[in-house]
């Protein structure tokens, strides 16, 4: 009856979103792919032309490439470990009966709303600065030598900052999952004499597994492309010590104008993200069916 009309109307209503996203996805990516096989230098256009895979070869053989992959993985894995384990512990703590739970929640979630450049600069200057930072004040109080965080341990410093930004997210998601746990089930387990640890392992953890999966997948997407935090703190240095893949591609493209190599790096980043996305989509898709 009206279904034919409804169906064509539905298609018409969906068209703008689909077309916009299709263009947004296909056009720039196709250009990147094309540039990755070209010699293209806006400052020196004489030698421009098709060069096959040599951009990829150049990008691979760059010692910064391996370092950047390593840094990218270090950042993703360490922040995931800190935020997931810390998030579970924090969620368990906040879920306890206490006074002022609402305010505690608000305080804990706050860092997530701080824009990345502010988060990074506040940590760099207010907390970790070797002379005027709070850590330096604490070190001096104990007569210790303040640590030059960004000079000596740049990756560790960035991991700490990014973990601070994402711990609230993990905590909030895991706490939401925890609070949907059936109280009666918990009580029954308690009555049967299950201690806190066995209750956690056999009841709470399985209940939270879906939320944990979601936290890991979503954070991975964002952590693979950390950029502003590195830009305003170490600028990738010293040397390439804190350069991740996105930052290396940015440097090649906009600072060195090696567009071909940057595009090759971009394609590698896409492949990396696709591997992650493959698992992410499967998990989210499964949840959609429920």
């Amino acid at each position: 009856m009206a279904t034919q009309q409804t169906r064509s109307l539905a298609r018409f209503m969906m068209a703008p979103s689909v077309v916009l996203l299709l263009v947004w996805m296909v056009v720039p990516l196709a250009l990147t792919l094309w540039f990755s096989f070209q010699q293209y230098n806006p400052l020196n256009p004489i030698r421009d032309g098709f060069v096959g895979f040599s951009n990829y070869a150049l990008f691979y053989s760059n010692p910064a490439f391996l370092q950047s992959i390593l840094n990218t993985l270090t950042l993703v894995v360490s922040v995931l470990l800190i935020t997931v384990i810390g998030g579970i512990l924090l969620a368990l703590l906040i879920d306890q009966p206490m006074w002022g739970q609402g305010i505690v929640r608000i305080l804990v979630i706050s860092p997530f709303f701080v824009m990345p450049p502010v988060a990074a600069l506040v940590w760099k200057n207010m907390i970790m600065h070797p002379q005027y930072g709070v850590f330096a004040d604490i070190a001096r109080f104990f007569d210790a030598q303040p640590i030059d965080w960004f000079g000596q341990h740049p990756m560790l410093a960035i991991v700490i900052i990014v973990a601070w930004q994402w711990l609230p997210f993990a905590t909030l998601i895991l706490l939401t999952a925890l609070q949907s746990l059936d109280g009666e089930q918990k009580e029954a387990a308690e009555m049967d004499g299950a201690g806190f640890v066995s209750r956690f392992i056999y009841l709470t953890l399985p209940h939270m597994s879906r939320a944990i999966t979601v936290v890991i997948l979503i954070q991975t997407i964002f952590l693979l492309s950390v950029y502003a935090e590195i830009l305003v703190t170490t600028n990738g240095g010293p040397g390439y010590a804190s350069t991740n893949l996105p930052f290396l591609v940015y440097q090649k493209a906009l600072l060195e104008f090696k567009i071909g190599q940057a595009s090759a790096g971009g394609i590698i980043a896409v492949i990396l993200a696709n591997i992650v996305a493959f698992f992410a989509m499967r998990a989210v898709g499964k949840n959609l069916d429920k």
Partner: protein
């Protein structure tokens, strides 16, 4: 007996949770405190009590025209959100109320566009923007922010719309409501809370976006993310000024965020955790 254990338990939990919460919040708190110090005070070691001067706020505005960046942040986040809603509401509506076999595939595909790393298309986008004269323009950046958040907006609206019972629509149709009336009088009032939540979360995401807003702007369209990043190379004493600029940059969104905790969970997990 049991009661005293409970009280003791509650006391310990309260103390532990407050200590951890204050530690996590500390960098923000210390920034707010430092913003009310003078530059001399700010570097004189750890001190939680500021003299209460507003000079850093006045300085930041006087030196760099802070308000312009703030205004750009408001325009870009609100503008891109409205654009995204205009495009996404019809799509989410049709997927929720007239789903087809391909609806799920389309939703998954939309989500997958979110996973494309921004750097991979940095140069093409830069080139396109330059050739269209969109570099450092508010409208260009608005479209950009709209595009990167569109999948989340469609998804969130879809999960909200799907909860509107279909029977109500049928009842309205039986009473002779036209499709247009159905949308205006029946659906819209029920959808407003979902749309408002989506809007709130999207404004937060757009406000804090710190890749395209930094790379595609220089001065005219630069929002707070770009302005704050300019503090990365310090010149002289700037601790109190950095704190004042940072406090103003995060305050509105922090307060919005406190009110949107639930929507945040739902929006960022694509409805998988509620």
């Amino acid at each position: 007996m049991a009661r005293s254990v409970t009280t003791q338990h509650k006391t310990i939990a309260t103390i532990a949770a407050w200590i951890v919460a204050l530690l996590i919040f500390f960098p923000i708190l210390y920034t707010i405190i430092t913003s009310f110090k003078s530059e001399q005070e700010a570097i004189q070691g750890f001190n939680l009590i500021p003299s209460g001067t507003f000079e850093s706020y006045i300085e930041v505005q006087a030196q760099s025209g802070y308000f312009k960046f703030f205004l750009n942040s408001v325009l870009l986040s609100v503008g891109s959100t409205i654009l995204a809603l205009l495009v996404a509401i019809p799509a989410a509506w049709s997927m929720a109320f007239a789903p087809t076999k391909r609806t799920k595939d389309i939703l998954m595909w939309m989500l997958s566009t979110k996973m494309m790393p921004a750097v991979a298309v940095l140069f093409p986008i830069y080139l396109i923007f330059r050739n269209l004269g969109l570099l450092d323009s508010r409208i260009g950046l608005m479209i950009m922010l709209m595009l990167i958040n569109l999948p989340i907006v469609v998804w969130m609206l879809y999960t909200y719309f799907r909860e509107i019972p279909g029977e109500i629509l049928e009842a309205a149709r039986m009473d002779g409501a036209s499709l247009w009336n159905e949308i205006i009088y029946v659906l819209t009032p029920m959808a407003v809370p979902g749309i408002a939540s989506t809007m709130l979360l999207n404004i937060i995401l757009a406000w804090n976006e710190a890749f395209w807003t930094i790379r595609l702007t220089t001065t005219e369209a630069a929002p707070l993310t770009a302005f704050i990043s300019s503090f990365s190379s310090p010149q002289g004493l700037f601790w109190a000024k950095l704190s004042a600029a940072s406090t103003l940059a995060i305050a509105p969104i922090l307060i919005m965020g406190w009110f949107s905790q639930k929507q945040l969970v739902r929006g960022l997990t694509f409805g998988a955790v509620k």
